[in-house]
């Protein structure tokens, strides 16, 4: 059989399937219910519409399933995103190590896939059982989209299995490009799946395509899908998933690094851990800016919703967020600093580490400083007000924005130092290039601090706006110095990197990342869901259940920890499964097995 011909036929089938899905996605209204059913106002559920099954209320069950499903889905959708990039790097550089590592990353996510489907099924069941009226309304709003979601899920399974199991069959030459294209299709389907799920979530926060007074459906499915918060959430989850996926495979690499004995294997898993940390940091650095966009859109959609999140009952959660992000940045930086020991040239950058550490820790402390404290009258008397006289000013946004941006800039600097420790530039303009980069950092840092000071003296409404130049500065430093570095690296003399020359302690930084990321993800999910306050669909359908309140931070924290523990158990099992798959039993001593 002609391989080129069969490949063309395979592509035609792939193309037809995708075209059919795209057409269905564009016209879910074709699957719509009768117009008079859509014209009905949104139902107003009563307490009796929320069944209590076996003493269980709906909220903890749905919360648990939704969070587990999100953890697993985020991981399973994220891994193919960076695996395709690593595979492409292998195809372009002809370095087989990339291919082996990409395949190993996929192996871990494959074992998690069935758990994703399982928890997804559990979530759907729990939603229909405990919130039948809400689900009935959402199904009406999104009409045929639920069916499309199911089709996309089947397609995701098909392409995931195809991509993974065809890895060795399509390894070289022209076939490699076909395999990469399969990966691209897999990611397209996966992202579409996530975007559809996001549409339902964001519709509940900022409903569109329905009558604001009655909730009757007035627009198309596309109008409900493209609600004000859809795209900000799409971007935020896309980046967060990459960071999250990177952190989890990093933990796998660290665990393998600590378990294996051979130097070759340790080198492989050290390199894998480094790459995973790089992916996590790369996904993480732009995340605050995506978060900023999401929050700005929330304020633009409903100032009340924004204030509920940032200045109301949920404000304290951002102090926990600061603690979590602070530990993530400290751990990622610590790992990068330890990595300087991998090259002999790294020692020349070691003296700078202490200054970076001071900025990261200082920024972290500013970020966790609260402004207004909830105090007893006695405490207010002792403190002389609801905020501390000296430290209180550090609790407001200009100080926090300055701290966050400086932390990001210095984290990027840690990465850049490691990158440079492995290369000696040979271009004639290397000196000028270095000076430009140093000047860029210096001017950028001054600009970030100056914009922060300006934030103090401008009215509240403009304080958030004052953070825009800070964000632009941080991104400029990263993009411009990366560009200069990439040109300086041309023809550079490579310094040997001793992969595997890492301390045991450094690997524990890679365990902090997934634990903190998982907890952080659940915390942000809790905030995102809570800003709807006592509404299922904000301003359209009230929550009349006994659980319509926003729980305390403590009880939310306990719930988050429980779900994180469950997820850790699943992940440990998944790691074990992927190792088991690679284990081959040796033949019994004394020849062939006679049983």
């Amino acid at each position: 059989m002609n391989p080129a011909g069969s490949m063309r036929r395979a592509w035609t089938v792939v193309f037809l399937v995708l075209a059919a899905t795209a057409a269905a996605l564009a016209a879910p209204d074709a699957l719509a219910q009768a117009a008079d059913a859509l014209a009905q106002p949104a139902p107003t559920p009563t307490r009796a519409d929320y069944p209590v099954i076996g003493g269980l209320h709906g909220r903890p069950v749905v919360w648990g399933f939704a969070q587990m499903h999100l953890f697993l889905a985020a991981f399973v959708l994220a891994v193919p995103l960076f695996v395709v990039v690593i595979e492409l790097a292998g195809a372009v550089t002809h370095d087989a190590r990339y291919d082996v590592m990409a395949h190993e990353f996929m192996k871990i996510s494959m074992a998690a896939y069935s758990f994703t489907a399982l928890t997804g099924g559990g979530l759907a069941l729990a939603l229909f059982l405990f919130y039948p009226v809400v689900m009935d309304y959402l199904l009406k709003v999104f009409r045929g989209q639920a069916l499309i979601y199911a089709v996309l899920f089947v397609l995701e399974s098909v392409f995931l299995y195809l991509y993974y199991y065809s890895w060795n069959a399509l390894r070289h030459g022209q076939r490699k490009w076909f395999h990469l294209s399969l990966g691209l299709v897999l990611n397209t389907v996966g992202l579409t799946l996530m975007f559809v799920a996001n549409a339902w979530t964001t519709f509940m926060m900022s409903p569109a395509g329905v009558d604001p007074a009655t909730g009757a459906i007035t627009g198309t499915v596309w109008a409900a899908t493209r609600n004000p918060l859809w795209n900000p959430l799409n971007l935020h989850r896309f980046l967060a998933n990459i960071a999250y996926g990177g952190a989890i495979v990093g933990a796998y690499a660290a665990y393998r690094f600590l378990s294996v004995r051979s130097i070759k294997e340790r080198a492989h898993y050290d390199w894998m851990g480094y790459t995973a940390n790089l992916i996590a940091v790369a996904g993480f650095l732009p995340l605050p800016f995506a978060g900023y966009w999401l929050m700005a859109e929330i304020y633009a959609y409903s100032q009340q919703m924004g204030i509920t999140a940032m200045g109301g009952v949920l404000a304290w959660l951002f102090i926990i967020q600061a603690l979590l992000i602070g530990t993530i940045l400290l751990a990622a930086n610590y790992y990068l600093w330890c990595g300087l020991g991998r090259t002999d040239r790294g020692a020349r950058y070691a003296p700078y580490v202490k200054y970076i550490a001071v900025v990261i820790v200082g920024g972290f402390l500013v970020w966790v400083t609260p402004h207004t404290l909830i105090l007893s009258p006695e405490e207010i008397r002792i403190l002389g007000g609801t905020s501390h006289k000296v430290l209180g000013p550090l609790g407001i946004m200009p100080a926090k924005n300055t701290a966050v941006n400086l932390m990001l800039v210095f984290t990027f600097m840690s990465f850049q130092l490691f990158y440079r420790s492995g290369r000696v530039p040979t271009v004639s303009w290397a000196g000028v290039g270095n000076m430009v980069i140093v000047a860029l950092y210096a001017v950028g840092i001054v600009n970030i601090v100056a914009a922060g000071i300006y934030g103090y003296i401008t009215p509240t409404v403009y304080k958030v706006g004052a953070s825009v130049p800070q964000v632009v500065t941080t991104l400029t430093i990263i993009v411009v110095s990366l560009t200069i570095d990439s040109f300086m690296a041309r023809g550079a003399r490579k310094v040997e990197v001793h992969w595997g020359r890492m301390s045991t302690r450094s690997q524990y930084a890679l365990f902090v990342l997934p634990v903190a990321f998982t907890w952080l993800m659940a915390l942000m999910g809790y905030i995102r869901s809570s800003v709807r306050t006592h509404w299922h669909v904000y301003t359209i359908m009230k929550d009349a259940s006994a659980d319509a309140y926003i729980p305390t931070i403590g009880s939310a924290g306990n719930m988050i920890t429980l779900v994180t523990l469950a997820f850790m158990a699943v992940i440990v099992f998944v790691f074990w499964l992927s190792q088991l798959g690679a284990t081959v039993q040796e033949a019994p001593a004394g020849g062939e097995d006679r049983s």
């Binding site: 633009a300 100032q303 009340q304 009258p377 509240t460 365990f511 634990v515 931070i553 403590g554």
Partner: protein
């Protein structure tokens, strides 16, 4: 061993986050409860006092109308001068145009609440709209969703703050019944802290409590030093029994004996008795 060490380490990190979440201030946010008001018995001052409670509670007005500058700080501004200036603004072309005095203020306030974009105070419009679109939601629609009677109460409060005549009246007869039914309160369990009782009853709306600065009723700081427990109890259950100097009778609701459970009353008394005097605090 590696596995155990890694798991133990991860668990310690996880527990540290959990502990941190549990040592922070714990606040549960309940859905807003509409207040049960005997509308038929409300006079102008009572209506304004109810409006103040709505302003600081259910109406969520203070989320933006505060000293942080998101919206004009209606509790600090000289409202008489403000309203006159706004209605005279050449940009103003709303319902109050051509009206005078208290009638103009009522028309302006009602319009501002029901159609906030009709006139936007300079500098307070949505970004990029050149002060033509207000970020404020219409108060009669979700998520605020105030009733007509509640909007009237808010108008009464703001008119009183502006020193103007109160032009709105509480609904009477069938209207009052309908409005009262509209605001039926849900049955819930007893409050577990004095703060929860205070929040529910809205004490800080009239009394200067925990820095609220309200002066409709007497200040409560150091009340335990001025009165004994029995006297405080009587003042809650039968507010007209003793009227503090400089204050009017019939302002404080008379039905706390029905609204409060015994355990809640005891919590409240424990709290008030120990409330330190402000002089000592400063």
């Amino acid at each position: 061993m590696t596995f155990l060490r890694v798991m133990l380490f991860s668990l310690v990190v996880l527990l540290a986050y959990t502990l941190f979440a549990n040592i922070l201030p714990q606040v549960q946010s309940d859905p807003p409860k509409e207040e049960k008001i005997d509308l038929g018995s409300l006079d102008a001052a009572g209506l304004a006092a109810w409006g103040e409670r709505i302003f600081k509670g259910q109406g969520t007005c203070t989320l933006c109308h505060n000293e942080l500058g998101r919206a004009p700080d209606l509790l600090k501004l000289d409202l008489a001068a403000e309203f006159a200036e706004r209605i005279a603004d050449p940009r103003y072309d709303g319902a109050a145009k051509g009206l005078d005095g208290a009638a103009a203020i009522e028309a302006y306030l009602r319009e501002s609440m029901l159609d906030p974009s009709a006139y936007v105070v300079a500098g307070f419009g949505k970004k990029g709209t050149n002060d033509t679109v207000s970020p404020m939601p219409a108060v009669d629609r979700p998520p605020i969703g105030l009733s007509e009677a509640e909007i009237d109460a808010l108008i009464a409060f703001l008119e009183e703050r502006a020193g103007a005549e109160i032009t709105v009246t509480a609904p009477t007869g069938e209207q009052a019944q309908a409005a009262a039914q509209d605001g039926g309160e849900e049955e819930t369990g007893p409050a577990e802290t004095a703060q929860a009782v205070i929040e529910r009853l809205g004490c800080a709306a009239c009394h200067d409590l925990e820095g609220s600065g309200a002066d409709v009723g007497p200040r409560l700081d150091g009340i335990g030093k001025r009165y004994d427990r029995a006297m405080i109890r009587q003042s809650i259950l039968d507010p007209n029994a003793h009227i503090a100097e400089g204050f009017e009778p019939d302002i404080m609701p008379q039905d706390y004996a029905e609204q409060l459970r015994v355990s809640e009353l005891e919590l409240l008394l424990d709290y008030l008795e120990k409330l330190p005097a402000k002089e000592a605090a400063q």
